[in-house]
Structure formats: structure tokens, C-alpha cells
């Protein structure tokens, strides 16, 4: 990113959408006394240099399988699309979403360590939530693509080659085969993750190449639980996928990845999805599995049932979960859990000198004078794909 004239590129961003009344653009850097509010999504600038129109296929670009060919990324930079939904509606409610660039909250979020291009959107008069949401998502992904387009034709600072074969590198040569069960939320508009631009509602577990996950096939349209959800950036830079790729053929055999829906509906819906996910893992030859979580409460039950069905299928399983002053669900088979921290714990008060994204919190109070803020509100703080460092521990 140091190679790019960021101000010039940011200045060149254009927004033209009748659903949006205005967009304010600001660039904030780690260590600055800035609080960012109402963050809807965070996206790393990426472009497919050989076919820019296919960047973020389905969600923004033309449909072409992600995960192959060359991708240019601007490492260390994130585009944060911010805004609050125009109307209060039934069902899951909008929750506060904060990134602090300094102070105690900055230790919690990976987005406190990136240079952030913050886009603050306000809705045009009379625009419905789903239309504003769609406009913000498209504009944020487009800005990420256009920022990265500045790299086309330039010499890269670094080139990384990532490879994955279904079944893993080692095959049968004695290393344990591990399958990643990646949970994606799908409940309602604004509590949804998109795969190639589509919701997973009515979806059953399916196999996906881990490189597709890293290459923009999955985008976020989920704005509940700031600490526990996965912004697009987290899929693009999924530590859990990268760690498994790095260990593939050395410490384990990364046999494959199964996409699972979180927020399955009804007890048989949850049970069926968990059973089918475990069955796919078994067919991929899994000796072990890692189950991730997206969101919370309801989806923790999906995680627990998936662990249970994996263990019943003879697959040793670890799950990654956040704590909500305790767990809302647990099965005895879940005997190896990674804690990503207690979201109810308060983070000490910090007063920013500047607030971007919106001066006032959803509860009407000034964001600069919010007092101690719960971990729950910090974007990515208790990320259950294991992206962050926070955990709760007994002393």
C-alpha cells in the first residue's frame, strides 16, 4: 500500500446511485484518535487483473469461479462501508458496529491495524432498508475493486502462490486428514452471507475449494453481532484457511472445506444440516474437523449439533465459539473448544478526538462519549473463524 498514492486513488472514487443521498470518504490510519461507527462491511481491495469485471463474482462482477488465476490485492488496506439503515423493522435489529483506531478497543479488532478507507453512506429519502443495503454493498465492493485496479500493470511488492487440491496434499501418507466446516449465516436480509451473490437460505452443506473463499466468492450482508460476525475481509484473509493451507502436507492433510449454513430453522432443519455436513466431512476422509461459527445464539446451536454429528461419525472435532456470559448451547461431545472471548465484557472508556461513520450511536448517544463499550460492539473482536487474538480464560 505504501507504493500507491492513496489520496489520489481515493479522490478518484465515484459513487452514483439514486438510493444513496451522500457518501463521505475519509482515510484513517492505525494509531489515530478516531472511532469508526456503523460499519456494515469491511473489504480488502482486490481485482482480477486479467478480467476485472469478474472481481467478486456474483456479488459485484460477472459469474466466473473464484479461486484460480491471478488476483491483485492491496495488503494492509480495507474499505469500510458505513451507514445506518433508514428504518427500524421487525425481526433482527441493527446493532452498533465499532472500530477504534487507538485506545484499548484497538487491540481487539484486525480493522484497527489496517489503513481504512471509510465510506459513510446516507440513504436517499424513502429508500427501504434492503435497497439501501444493496446500494452500500455494491458501492463498497466496487470501491474495493477500483482501488485495487490501480495496481494493474504495476510490479507487485510480493507474489504469493496458493494451491489446494480436494483430498489434500498428503493423501494417505499418515498425516491426519482435516476438513474445515465453515459456517455462514443465512436468516434474513441484513443477516445474510452471500456465496457468489446469493443467500444460503434453503441451502444444504456443500463442498467449496478453500481458494474460492479467499478469492472473493463469499461476501457479507450480515450486520448483527459486530464482534461475532464475519465481514467480507475475514473471508478474503481467513486465517483458518491460510493456516490449514500452510500446514497442508506438513502437519496435516487439508482434505477440504464444507460450507454450512448457520441459523438453520427448526430443530429438524438444524439436525439435518449438521448431519449432512458431518457426512460430507466423512466422505472427504476427515479424521478431524474444525467447525467455525458465524453470529451467535441461534447459530451456536448449529455449531454444537455439527460437532455432535461429526463426533458420531468418528471425526475428532474442534469448534470456535464466543462466549455470551456463558454459552447458550453445549453438547458433551464439544470437549475441545476455542474461546474467542466473552462479548459481554466491557472495554475501558476511551474518548476519540474524531468520529467517522456517524456521530451518534444507534441509541442516540454521542459515539465519542459512549463510556465503556462491550466487546460485542467491536467489529471482529470475538471472530469465530479465529481471525482475532481475544479469548476468555479462567484465572
Amino acid at each position: 500500500v505504501e507504493d500507491l498514492d492513496l489520496d489520489e486513488i481515493v479522490h478518484g472514487l465515484t459513487f452514483d446511485d439514486p438510493r444513496v443521498a451522500s457518501v463521505e470518504v475519509s482515510v484513517v490510519r492505525p494509531g489515530e484518535p478516531v472511532r469508526i461507527t456503523h460499519v456494515l462491511d469491511a473489504v480488502e481491495p482486490r481485482v482480477k487483473p486479467d478480467d476485472p469485471a469478474a472481481t467478486f463474482p456474483g456479488a459485484l462482477g460477472t459469474l466466473r469461479p473464484a479461486g484460480s488465476g491471478r488476483t491483485n490485492r492491496v495488503a494492509g488496506l480495507a474499505v469500510l462501508g458505513c451507514g445506518s439503515l433508514p428504518t427500524v423493522q421487525g425481526g433482527p435489529q441493527e446493532q452498533e458496529q465499532i472500530v477504534d483506531m487507538a485506545g484499548p478497543g484497538a487491540e481487539l479488532s484486525c480493522f484497527s491495524r489496517t489503513i481504512n478507507v471509510v465510506l459513510s453512506f446516507s440513504a436517499a429519502e424513502g429508500v427501504r432498508n434492503e435497497d439501501f443495503d444493496a446500494a452500500v454493498r455494491a458501492a463498497t465492493l466496487r470501491a474495493a475493486r477500483d482501488l485495487a485496479a490501480a495496481t494493474i500493470g504495476r510490479k507487485p511488492v510480493d507474489v504469493e502462490v496458493l494451491e489446494h487440491e480436494l483430498g489434500g496434499k498428503a493423501g494417505d501418507d499418515g498425516l491426519p486428514s482435516v476438513v474445515l466446516l465453515l459456517q455462514l449465516s443465512a436468516l434474513l436480509p441484513q443477516l445474510d452471507v452471500h456465496v457468489y451473490g446469493a443467500t444460503l437460505q434453503g441451502f444444504q452443506p456443500t463442498i467449496m475449494n478453500p481458494l474460492e473463499v479467499l478469492d472473493g466468492a463469499i461476501t457479507c450482508a450480515e450486520y448483527s453481532w459486530a464482534a461475532m460476525r464475519n465481514p467480507t475481509y475475514v473471508y478474503q484473509n481467513a486465517e483458518i484457511v491460510r493456516e490449514l493451507l500452510a500446514a497442508d502436507g506438513k502437519r496435516l492433510n487439508f482434505a477440504g472445506l464444507v460450507l454450512c449454513r448457520g441459523y438453520n430453522q427448526g430443530s429438524s432443519g438444524k439436525e439435518r444440516a449438521a448431519m449432512l455436513a458431518a457426512k460430507l466431512a466423512r466422505e472427504l476422509g476427515a479424521d478431524g474437523a474444525i467447525v467455525t461459527t458465524d453470529g451467535g445464539g441461534n447459530s451456536h446451536t448449529d455449531t454444537m449439533l455439527t460437532v455432535r454429528h461429526c463426533e458420531r461419525a468418528g471425526i475428532r472435532t474442534v469448534a470456535i465459539v464466543a462466549e455470551l456470559g456463558g454459552l447458550t448451547d453445549h453438547v458433551p461431545e464439544a470437549d475441545a473448544l476455542v474461546s474467542t472471548g466473552d462479548i459481554a465484557e466491557l472495554v475501558a472508556e476511551w474518548r476519540p478526538q474524531r468520529v467517522v461513520g456517524g456521530e451518534r450511536r444507534l441509541d442516540g448517544r454521542l459515539a465519542a462519549e459512549a463510556g465503556p463499550i462491550a466487546v460485542r460492539e467491536y467489529l471482529g473482536a470475538s471472530n469465530q473463524m479465529g481471525q482475532a487474538f481475544l479469548r476468555a480464560a479462567s484465572r
Partner: protein, 340 residues
């Protein structure tokens, strides 16, 4: 040595229900049970008081104010209650004690084992067990004062005898050296090698199923739900997520929950279908039919509702205890609890 004491409106002499809405206040010296504590050799410098309803309904504001007072006073120990078996008071004591302990102020509560404050205080607060009611005031104050005195003089208390009090075993957030992803892989490889380790040793508060109702045909049945079912327009403003309270609504003369008059404001699921027929949240139509056929003796005149979305376990435990207490007093013998 500086000791701060926390009381609710009732024990501070500000009235029972009528003072329950009182916001936090700070008074010099001991008040109510604090006077007896002072007589036991533990001087109370400041008493903090908050109405139980105020704390329950404005927890963030109440905590912020109370913690502000503690930041000014910087006491050596915080004494809370005793709150005995009280739901809201116990919850406030446990929650404030926990937040104080997180700031490095040792906290001592006194409460009954069934109090939801036990959950709220979870792992952070020294808890002296008490009787369910004020009959055990003297014993409780004696143990609490002795414990607080030792803590105020800087003693690091790490052992307990004969269940005299329970020790805090704080579970706190910290930054690990590696990401959750890297730790997950380590835990999995260890588990595959036969070495099962976990970062979260779950002691779930398991609720054993109660014995079946002996004779439902003569029993009074109540409907309770966490489905966020409320009268249309949500007149009492039940929160969709992280509810602070529960409500009771009359079913007197009601045969069905019509969509014109009821709705769900639950924040954890798609309420579209539920709102087409709120009986699927609170099955009044079916239960009325069973009542007519003599399958249940009588349906209780009220249903009880909250939203379970995003709620903390301790808060949910408090709601449950409060609702159960009211149902018991009303002679209800069976509950149909619908969850979502």
C-alpha cells in the same frame, strides 16, 4: 481502609415498590444494614443506592453511574447487600460486584444459592451464602464483614472453609499469543493425538426435567414464552434483543391470539410467519380447545413473555426465577414454555 456498601431502595429505607425506580445515589456513611456492619468493626465510608427496577431496566446507565462513583471513591472493598433470595436485587448486586472486581476492587456479596445474582456474579465476586429471606441477616452480615475486612487489608484470600463463602474464579478476556485459528489447529492436532484440551470447560447450568404433572385435568396451566409475543404495537416496548425485562398480558376472555391484536418483536428469527398466526408462538387456540375438552383444569389468566434473543444467561435466569415465583404464588402447577 475505605469500604463502600451497595444497597437497593428497600434496604436503604426508600420504600419497597414505590422506590424501585430510583436512579443511583451516593450517601455519606452507613445506611440500613450498613450501620450494623459498622458495629462489627468495618467502617462504611459511602453507601451507594439504586432502585431494583431502575437497575433492571437501565442497566447500562445504572452501571455507568455506579462505577463512576466507585472510580471516584476507589474503595479497598465493595460490600453488596445481602440480597438474600431477591431476583432483581441479587442480579444488581452480582452485576455491580462483577464489574467492580473487573476493575480490581474486591467485591463481597451475600445471597441465597437460588438467586440469579449467583450467575451474574459468576467467577468474580466473593459470595456468602444466605437464607432465602432476611431471617439470616445477622449471620450474613457477620461473615460478609469478616471477609471484607480481610480483603480491605489487602489479604489475598484463595481458600475457603466449609462453604462459608465461595471464591471468585474470574474468567476474563485476554489477548492470546496466537489467533483463534492457529489455536484451533493446535487443539485439533492434540485431540487427534489423544490429548483432549479445551479453552472452555463448560459447566452448563443443566436443568433436570421436572416430574410429570400428576393430574393435568385438574391443574392450572400457564403459557410462558421467550418468543417476543406482545400486543400489537408493542405498548410496553419490549426490546427485540437483549431484553431487560419480561411482561405479563391478560388472556381473560381471549380464545385465540389474532394477528390483528398480537405480534412478535423477537430479534432472533424471521417473524413473518409467526405474525400471520401468533398462536404458533403462544398456542392459545390449541390450549383453549384442550381446556374445553377438560384436558387441563384451567388456563391461567395471564401469559408471560420476553424476547430471548441475545440475552445473557444470568439475565435469563433472573427472568425465569421472577416469573416462576409469581406463578407459584398464583397457584399455577404447570407451564407450557414455548421457545424459538
Amino acid at each position: 481502609m475505605k469500604v463502600v456498601h451497595y444497597l437497593n431502595q428497600f434496604f436503604a429505607g426508600h420504600g419497597a415498590e414505590e422506590g424501585a425506580g430510583q436512579p443511583p445515589v451516593r450517601l455519606e456513611g452507613p445506611v440500613g444494614p450498613g450501620v450494623a456492619v459498622a458495629g462489627l468493626g468495618l467502617p462504611i465510608a459511602v453507601t451507594l443506592i439504586c432502585g431494583d427496577n431502575y437497575f433492571a431496566e437501565h442497566e447500562e446507565k445504572a452501571l455507568s453511574r455506579l462505577l463512576g462513583y466507585l472510580d471516584e471513591e476507589l474503595p479497598d472493598v465493595l460490600l453488596l447487600g445481602p440480597s438474600f433470595g431477591s431476583g432483581r436485587y441479587g442480579y444488581a448486586c452480582g452485576t455491580l460486584g462483577r464489574e467492580a472486581a473487573r476493575r480490581g476492587i474486591p467485591a463481597v456479596c451475600g445471597m441465597h444459592a437460588g438467586s440469579p445474582g449467583i450467575q451474574a456474579a459468576r467467577d468474580y465476586v466473593y459470595v456468602v451464602p444466605t437464607t432465602p429471606n432476611v431471617a439470616g441477616m445477622r449471620d450474613a452480615l457477620g461473615t460478609m464483614a469478616g471477609l471484607a475486612l480481610r480483603l480491605a487489608t489487602g489479604e489475598d484470600i484463595t481458600t475457603t472453609e466449609a462453604g462459608e463463602y465461595s471464591l471468585p474464579n474470574p474468567r476474563r478476556n485476554e489477548l492470546a499469543g496466537e489467533t483463534g485459528a492457529a489455536r484451533a489447529i493446535e487443539l485439533l492436532l492434540a485431540k487427534l493425538a489423544g490429548n483432549v484440551r479445551t479453552e472452555l470447560d463448560v459447566a452448563v447450568d443443566a436443568v433436570p426435567p421436572p416430574p410429570p404433572v400428576e393430574d393435568l385435568a385438574s391443574a392450572t396451566l400457564a403459557l410462558v414464552t421467550e418468543a417476543g409475543c406482545v400486543p400489537q404495537g408493542n405498548p410496553d416496548r419490549l426490546a427485540s434483543t437483549r431484553a431487560r425485562t419480561w411482561f405479563r398480558y391478560s388472556l381473560s376472555g381471549e380464545l385465540t391470539l389474532s394477528p390483528e391484536r398480537y405480534q412478535s418483536v423477537h430479534g432472533g428469527f424471521d417473524v413473518t410467519l409467526a405474525n400471520e398466526d401468533p398462536n404458533r408462538l403462544v398456542p392459545l387456540d390449541t390450549v383453549r380447545a384442550i381446556e374445553r375438552e377438560g384436558g387441563v383444569g384451567r388456563l391461567h389468566d395471564f401469559f408471560y413473555t420476553t424476547s430471548g434473543s441475545g440475552i445473557l444467561v444470568a439475565m435469563a435466569a433472573r427472568f425465569g426465577q421472577e416469573i416462576a415465583e409469581e406463578l407459584k404464588q398464583a397457584g399455577v402447577e404447570a407451564v407450557l414454555l414455548s421457545g424459538t
